[in-house]
Symmetry: C2
Subunit: 458 residues, 2 copies
């Protein structure tokens, strides 16, 4: 990077907080995207670590004036290349804005800086005997990233996604202004809701520096059920029936036995369910033990009536943790053999049909597409194997899958976002006019197009 | 209205669906805003009642080309003049788009046209043994209006506001394009979220024609508690303590005894609580009777510990209905003596302080500001008496109240919206840059400024 920029950045944040040495910068140029589709990072970048919103404002004003691209960076836990700097510019790491400002027990809110990790925030919230309900998988994710990616995760079936918990933001706009949106308010209808626009904006409209989330009381108990079926359709058909009983599980995951076995084997652990080929993992939470058992009984009753061949219930903390461990290691275990992990959203009742379509596509391309996901909320993750990339048909397979999902009323990303690897695919599920409006909004916020170029929109 | 416009509209929707006779149009020119602040409607308007999104598109294309203002109209239940046509133009009533398209039990969604009333939708949802959780007060409100006003209501403390339930929209843009946003999807992160922007846009960005809402299972039982305190601060302090027990009530309302007595007297009914001056109305719902009693017991225990002087529990349907009837008639009963009903949002823990501030302001202006509201979510409705308007000090009082709310981190509208009577007041709680961005978004969607001019933004 040219000297003038580095000098200016050092002037703003201090000598110690600017990196130009490639060896030190390496970890700032990537994320957890599958390697075959990970975008190539530019080498001509500089990493800057501002201390606060004021310094970020100074950096953005300078960058805006000189038309220098800026790539905001959180925990680097995204899987669509959203934080990768694909052209020369500034990588702006939020890591020093890492304070949990306040856990406000009276208002049931937490105020956190954008660079604090989810792990850190959860610890402080739990210490106050409160609950942050959603749980996007990777606790190394940073708060700001969770918001601009509108993170999802397994608990969305009961608690919804991150959007539902965001009540206030502090944002530095690409033109340098520091603005606040919302506050410690549960209802707020003043003007157009720019805060909602910032959520899931993937770093193109502004840099989030502070977040206010709503909190809830902790739930007292939980149980994890593994319900086995011989048939995929039977398993998926049980999902709305479970939800119609009045029980809203914390999580309602679908996984096939031979797939979850891969993860168990890799970890040297035992997957407890040995019957059936299709499993639902149902986590039930309640206000006390009786409540948990009553809900579990409702789930069991419904599933038995629908042909479940086996039902296991884990109620100790350890048993439940083992099941979750095996489930949550699936992606890391499979990743070396994976070219791209898709993130399809379909109407929940269409999941079984969608899985059948994936089988058809597998047959067509003589491959195996391992698939599992959040059955309770219609979010499915097909894992496209590496060999499709090697055979040069990865895009074809992807387009077939997208077309089927869109035909069923689905979307090409449910929770991972568009990042830098799905921008060209966005027109498959959005009309031209909507894309034009999105581009217009981007231009309005960021007239010189400096913020995270190449991300979020075509 | 000039003849060419009327002829064109009749061509689009048919002879029968265009009104130009003032006697027939009268009910289309107003809403439920308090009379002293109700905007003056223009008399030179024409009312048009299109049958579907296609006809709305044709109307908007024509209006856009000829720069004719269009005022979209739902149930007319707004209380900030949002639907009042303040300049000559077209009043576009959604009343003929009144179908409940589908109650989808498998996906737990309802699809409704924008002009269907909340009442109609609730009936069909209940007939399917499902629940639409939020409950904005007036069931004559139409579905499209609920969405573009992001309606709130008493149940927000447990279930949040309308935004949380909107999963898909069909929208006609001011330039005539018909676009869909979202779908029967519980997670969707494709591009900037225009759907979230449409929610609470108060009719300035497009006309919503169809809505997909998420549904839930019905709750099995409920109880209504009236908890009495001698002191306002003691009552309000109990609110976070109740929420911290893990019980999230369906509603948690604050009302003072002498105020609720006005409504009871007017209705010739008996308000059951006769001790204390400050009441919390706590509605508890649960998955069965035991659960309802267990939650009620938790609430009672906390409130007794905090100095409650009396606690009444109503568990029959009739007793509960009586309490709600008296509470919900408060505004209609008070309305003839009211100049403006404010809709303040403050952090929930600040409510008692905010009520004290209102008392101070009452003393300063030698008046009485009756106040009650949704204590569980920080939404308070101060009723400014008619005599303040007659004395010419209404604006002064309002500005004092706004300034105090904003100082506490609040907002000038929690659920009613900006409409046409608070646009000039918006800069009191929004910064210039945010307003500039909102204006820019409006211009982007509606380049000729035809849609609901005078509403939502200054």
């Amino acid at each position: 990077m040219e000297n003038e920029l580095v000098t200016k950045l050092k002037e703003i944040v201090g000598e110690d907080w600017v990196l130009t040495d490639m060896a030190l910068m390496e970890s700032y140029l990537t994320d957890v995207t599958a390697l075959p589709v990970l975008p190539e990072p530019a080498s001509d970048v500089v990493v800057v670590k501002p201390a606060d919103a004021g310094e970020i404002s100074s950096i953005l004003k300078f960058a805006n004036e000189h038309r220098i691209p800026v790539f905001p960076r959180g925990g680097g836990t995204g899987c669509v290349g959203g934080a990768v700097p694909t052209v020369p510019g500034i990588v702006l790491s939020l890591e020093r804005l890492d304070r949990i400002v306040e856990v406000d027990k009276e208002n049931l809110m937490v105020v956190a800086e954008a660079g604090a990790t989810l792990e850190k925030m959860l610890k402080e919230v739990e210490a106050a005997d409160l609950l942050f309900p959603p749980h996007p998988g990777d606790e190394g994710a940073q708060i700001g990233g969770l918001v601009v990616c509108n993170a999802g995760g397994t608990r969305a079936v009961k608690f919804g996604v991150i959007r539902q918990y965001v009540k206030g933001l502090e944002v530095v706009l690409p033109t340098g202004e520091i603005v606040t949106m919302g506050g410690k308010l549960l209802k707020n209808n003043t003007g157009l809701d720019l805060m909602q626009l910032m959520i899931d904006s993937e770093g193109i409209l502004g840099i989030v520096t502070k977040v206010i989330f709503r909190l809830y009381p902790r739930f007292a108990g939980s149980a994890t059920l593994i319900v086995s079926f011989d048939d995929r359709h039977a398993a998926i058909k049980a999902v709305p029936k479970i939800l119609q009983t009045g029980v809203i599980p914390l999580a309602l995951e679908y996984v096939e036995r031979d797939v979850i076995q891969i993860s168990a084997d890799h970890l040297g652990m035992r997957w407890p369910a040995q019957k059936g080929m299709a499993h639902l993992i149902v986590i039930v939470t309640g206000s006390n033990e009786d409540d948990v058992y009553a809900q579990s009984a409702d789930v069991l009753k419904v599933c038995e009536g629908l042909g479940a061949v086996d039902i296991l219930m884990a109620d100790t903390r350890e048993e439940q943790a083992d099941i979750l461990k095996i489930r949550s290691e699936l992606y890391p275990v499979l990743k070396p053999q994976v070219a791209d992990v898709l993130d399809m959203a379909v109407p929940p009742a269409e999941i079984a049909n969608f899985l059948d379509v994936l089988d058809e596509i597998s047959r067509k391309y003589r491959t195996r597409i391992i698939t599992y996901g959040h059955a309770g909320d219609g979010n499915i993750h097909p894992h496209l194997p590496l060999e499709l990339y090697e055979r040069g048909v990865l895009s074809d397979v992807k387009h077939d899958i997208y077309a089927e999902a869109v035909r069923m009323g689905g979307a090409i990303t449910a929770e991972h976002g568009v990042g830098k690897i799905r921008t060209k695919e966005l027109p498959l599920c959005l009309d031209d006019k909507s894309l034009e409006l999105m581009q217009g909004i981007r231009k309005l916020f960021d007239p010189n197009g400096i913020l995270n170029p190449g991300a979020a929109l075509p």
